[in-house]
């Protein structure tokens, strides 16, 4: 969406509250655990969401991201630990006393109410005067570009429209934090991309803290200020999108975000600051990561497919890295890119990604020298 169309008075009531101290996290989780019977859904996580940021909980299904969101919303109460919203401990507060609103995956619009009655719901609860209510409902509908459909019932709206109404309903009350549970999951790809941009712009414009849940890494990378990658009820890594992509902390993070070549290597010497790593008889000297043993330890070298250099120049090779010969076994056309799968000396495969230039499409059987540049290699110990 283009937010330019927004009247100034429309977004004024939704501007962020500047009163709260900047250092206080908007949402803070301290050693929060949630058990359902014997099943541990959330396993002692610590998290601090900064005020005004677009924060994403990312992970495969069953990783605990939705439970975490439901804990923040108050639909579930934690088995252990504390939850703070705007510095206030709300661990035991029921959902209706928490200053957060949720956009549900299924939208959860009230089927017996019209669009404007749905959006007015939280204002009615707060006993706002009719005139004020009407004004704010219109402003919120305007914000999500749904003006003109006030009198429709949710059943008469498309999925995309329902989603906008759900957003307006969650924003109209100016929550401190907006929680979004895979809100784009049910939309088709094109609409999804549009809504991603629109949501992102809206969040920046309104300055509201967003806590967004998704299993879609591309969505997370495109929209978030920071991402918490979750796995089996724990947080694997909290970082900004670049950090998460370029500097994964372990094998899981490296494999989950994007495509990665994970190579089994061994530590073969080094000193306090550096590490000599052996892979297929080749050696490379890397910066020493935390927790690396001196010698003999098995480690994983991670490198992104697009960072492998095909047919490197002598200068590039001299700059350091691992250079091997490979035979192309498969070439997959994926639109903007070509995905090339090479078999190297011992039968290991390397996936390589190059931009699609119509002129030269390599054929299987082609031999090539592949350089894994020193700077693109990450040594993972777990």
């Amino acid at each position: 969406m283009t937010v330019e169309g927004l009247g100034a008075q429309h977004c004024a009531p939704m501007a962020p509250k500047s009163g709260a101290a900047a250092a206080t996290p908007a949402v803070e989780l301290l050693a929060v655990t949630k058990r359902f019977g014997n099943m541990v859904a959330v396993d002692g996580i610590d998290l601090a969401v900064r005020e005004g940021e677009f924060f994403t909980l990312l992970g495969a299904s069953g990783c605990g991201k939705t439970t975490t969101l439901r804990l923040i919303a108050g639909f579930e109460l934690p088995t252990g630990g504390h939850i703070r919203i705007g510095g206030q401990d709300v661990s035991e507060e029921p959902a209706y006393r928490r200053p957060v609103h949720t956009v549900f995956q299924s939208y959860a619009l009230f089927p017996h109410l019209t669009v404007s009655e749905n959006v007015a719901f939280p204002l009615r609860i707060r006993r706002l005067a009719a005139e004020e209510r009407r004004r704010r409902v219109l402003a919120a509908l305007d914000l999500v570009q749904m003006s003109g459909l006030q009198d429709r019932r949710p059943a008469q709206l498309s999925g995309g429209q329902q989603q906008r109404v759900a957003l307006a309903r969650a924003l109209v009350n100016e929550p401190k934090v907006l929680l979004l549970d895979e809100p784009l999951g049910a939309l088709d790809l094109k609409l999804r991309k549009e809504m991603q941009t629109e949501l992102k712009h809206m969040q920046k414009r309104l300055g509201i803290t967003f806590v967004f849940v998704t299993h879609d890494q591309e969505e997370a990378l495109a929209m978030s200020d920071r991402i918490a990658l979750m796995h089996e009820g724990r947080i694997v890594q909290v970082d900004d999108p670049t950090g998460l992509y370029n500097a994964p902390v372990n094998r899981y993070a490296a494999a989950f975000i994007g495509e990665t070549n994970l190579l089994s290597a061994t530590i073969d010497g080094g000193d306090d600051a550096t590490l000599r790593v052996r892979w297929l008889g080749h050696h490379v000297v890397l910066n020493r990561p935390a927790g690396a043993a001196p010698s003999g330890q098995a480690v994983t070298l991670a490198i992104r497919p697009e960072q492998i250099v095909r047919a490197p120049s002598p200068e590039e090779e001299r700059a350091g890295g691992l250079a091997v010969d490979g035979v192309l076994t498969e070439s997959v056309f994926i639109g903007t890119d070509l995905r090339l799968i090479y078999r190297v000396e011992t039968g290991e495969t390397l996936i390589c990604r190059v931009q699609n230039r119509a002129a030269a499409t390599p054929e299987p059987g082609e031999r090539a020298r592949l350089l894994l540049p020193r700077g693109a290699l990450r040594c993972l110990t777990s």
């Binding site: 919303a73 108050g74 639909f75 029921p94 959902a95 209706y96 957060v100 609103h101 949720t102 549900f104 299924s106 959860a108 619009l109 009230f110 089927p111 017996h112 719901f121 939280p122 009615r124 609860i125 707060r126 019932r153 059943a155 309903r169 969650a170 009350n173």
Partner: protein, 285 residues
């Protein structure tokens, strides 16, 4: 044979027994009753075929009008009490009973395995002067002499609610059970406390079930006859007793048939009102 013709033939054959039973045991008796209601009575209680509106004009004279009012009041009170008790029960089974829900529903049906008259007679024993309740009250020192419970409107209502409560619980349960729990969460999420969420979300969404429950209780309550006689002492004449008396005691079969037709009309009116209200609710969705 073309597929559609064959399907139609199969459908007809399959439906035939049900249609036959309905025609023989429902439609034809109703036609007979309707025909009798326009006939005349001879001096010995027989039916003289003919066509007269005399029965109906007699029906709407002051004497019988009071019977309709009595019946309506009893049915209305029964319906209101059933809804007030049945809704919380249905709500509990749908939302709070968890895996015990289905078992509780079956338990509600258990009394139906026993004959209706026996169950109502049990209430006679319970409420009687030497019954369990009076015995309990006296033993607890709350009363010195047995209280006259039987033969009161209260006793009638207790029996009525007891008899019709399951008919009320089931439709409400059926409306609540599939209700999307996210909607209730959404209510809480938007700041509505439990009471307000109930009034603004749960109750409006379960209204079709409440209407069905009201219909299921109201219609048979209008025609009830054993409960007010056994528990209420049959002091106020209601439609059920009137029909029995007209047929069996006064041997005025045509007038009894007219009362029956009028009662059927009431029930039909109830169904029509229900359908109207339901379609209005549906149109709102």
């Amino acid at each position: 044979m073309r597929r559609s013709t064959r399907d139609a033939a199969v459908t007809s054959v399959m439906l035939a027994p049900a249609v036959l039973i309905l025609v023989v045991f429902v439609v034809m008796p109703l036609c007979v009753v309707a025909a009798y209601s326009f006939a005349q009575r001879d001096a010995y209680g027989g039916v003289v075929p003919g066509f007269t509106l005399e029965n109906y004009s007699q029906l709407f004279s002051g004497l019988y009008w009071q019977v309709f009012v009595n019946s309506f009041q009893l049915a209305a009170w029964t319906t209101i009490l059933c809804l007030l008790i049945g809704y919380p029960v249905a709500y509990f089974i749908a939302f709070r009973a968890g895996r015990w829900g289905p078992a509780l529903l079956v338990l509600m049906l258990v009394p139906f395995w026993i004959n209706f008259l026996i169950r109502i007679s049990a209430w006679v024993v319970l409420l009687g002067r030497n019954g369990l309740i009076n015995g309990g009250l006296t033993a607890a020192g709350l009363t010195e002499a047995p209280v006259g419970l039987l033969g009161t409107l209260g006793a009638t209502l207790v029996g009525m609610v007891y008899a019709f409560l399951p008919l009320c619980v089931f439709p409400i349960y059926a409306a609540l059970q599939p209700l999307d729990r996210r909607l209730i969460e959404a209510g809480a999420d938007l700041g509505a406390g439990p009471a307000e969420t109930f009034l603004r979300v749960t109750l409006p969404l379960s209204l079709p079930g409440v209407l069905a429950a009201a219909l299921f209780v109201f219609v048979p309550s209008m025609g009830v006859f054993a409960i007010p006689v056994l528990l209420g002492g049959g002091k106020d004449i209601i439609l059920g007793n009137l029909i029995v008396q007209l047929f069996l005691e006064f041997r005025n079969i045509p007038l009894g048939a007219a009362v029956s037709v009028a009662m059927l009309g009431f029930a039909a009116l109830g169904v029509v009102l229900y359908m109207r209200a339901l379609s209005r609710i549906e149109a709102m969705r």
